[in-house]
Amino acid sequence: MSDQAEQSVAPFAEDGWDGPGSAANDDKALYLELDGWEGPLDLLLDLARRQKVDLRKISILALVDQYLTYIDRAGALKLELAADYLVMAAWLAYLKSALLLPREEQEDPSPEELALRLQLRLQRLGAMREAAARLMGRDRLGRDVFRRGAPEGLRVDRRNRWQCEWFDLVQAYGQVKARTAPVVHMVRDRMVMTLDSALARVSSMLGVTLDWMELRDFLPPHADPRLKRSALASSFVAALELARLGKAELAQDHTFGPLRLRGIR
């Protein structure tokens, strides 16, 4: 690497610091341009261009020297240097020392690789800069070529054609009516034991025995559970009625205990 570097240092020495152009003698004029660069890579690309060689032939070592000189002198002029310029300077100083060191002592990644990477980046940025310039130089609409100045314009008036099916109409009406119809509660038909039939059943069963019987025993066996509840209620009322008429007596030993019933002769 070192000989490549030396080789390229030579043309750089010839070009010298005159590269930046005719105004280069005036340090201030040149260095005040610092704001004009968009970051260190931009400055590096510009310096590389001033070597007046292909980016592929650019000497990274020479470039590093130019950059470091530039940063030094900008510093001497007490220009504010953005941090990224200084970071780049530090990195380039490191790169330079690595490039100058004997090959054996070099670490991975090798300085050649780092230099190559920088070169590739400069190539890519350079390519995009050229592409941008060529793009901007094209015949541009509204500057070089023009669309019609006063087009009549195309207007499309939209009209809706509404669609509705007969069934949807009728169904909608049905649902409105159903939704808003007064609510009528219909009690479902239930199997019940009327008070009359309970009275008949209890009094006839009381006639058979004079022993106490539990009220539950008066209920019809094998009945539907819902009928059972009705029968229980009716039989209870029947028992009360019979007791009132003096035909039966009722007894309950404790609250919620079984209700017993016995006929009175």
Partner: protein, 216 residues
Amino acid sequence: MSAPDDLVRAVEATLFAAEEPMSVEAISTHLGGAEVRGALAELVAHYEGRGVQLVERGKRWHFQTASDLAHLLRREREEVRRLSRAATEVLAIVAYHEPVSRAEIEAIRGVQTAKGTLDVLLEAGWVRVAGRREVPGRPVIYATTPEFLAHFGLQSRRDLPGIDELRAAGLLDPVEDAMAALTDAPEPPAAAGDEAAGCTELSQGPVALATDDENA
């Protein structure tokens, strides 16, 4: 066709790009004082019979679309759109109860009716304003139109199925019950007979409806 000379091309491009019609003098000034009348005449001849024409109006020149193609500038596009659920309900209420005011429609629907809903029906041409009711506030009343009858294939409003027919068709069942009937039905099919019975039950509606349809 011979290639146009540079002046003709320049006049053509200038008028094309111009934002308003240009007088002969203005064109000439724009092109450095050239005499452009000849070029204009050549352009008029060139565009004769094309879709675009160069015309002079009040001493000013401009390009315009050929007059016989003016219809291309303003097109009408029809879009078929389905009536929304709310609009369908309102239309049905107007049809069954006309003439009817907005407040009455809302009373029957049990929900507020957005202004836009009636507008859609007016735009569709199915509902019209039928005057005002002579009560306090003089509310606007709505009725259906002949287009309404035509669209739904009805001779008259009396062709609309009556309440009894709707009930027979299952269309008066509250929505929840109707849903329940629909979702319950597939459950029993465990037993073969049940299923058939369920089917018959369900089919009553549509059958009755089909009859209505013929009437309509």
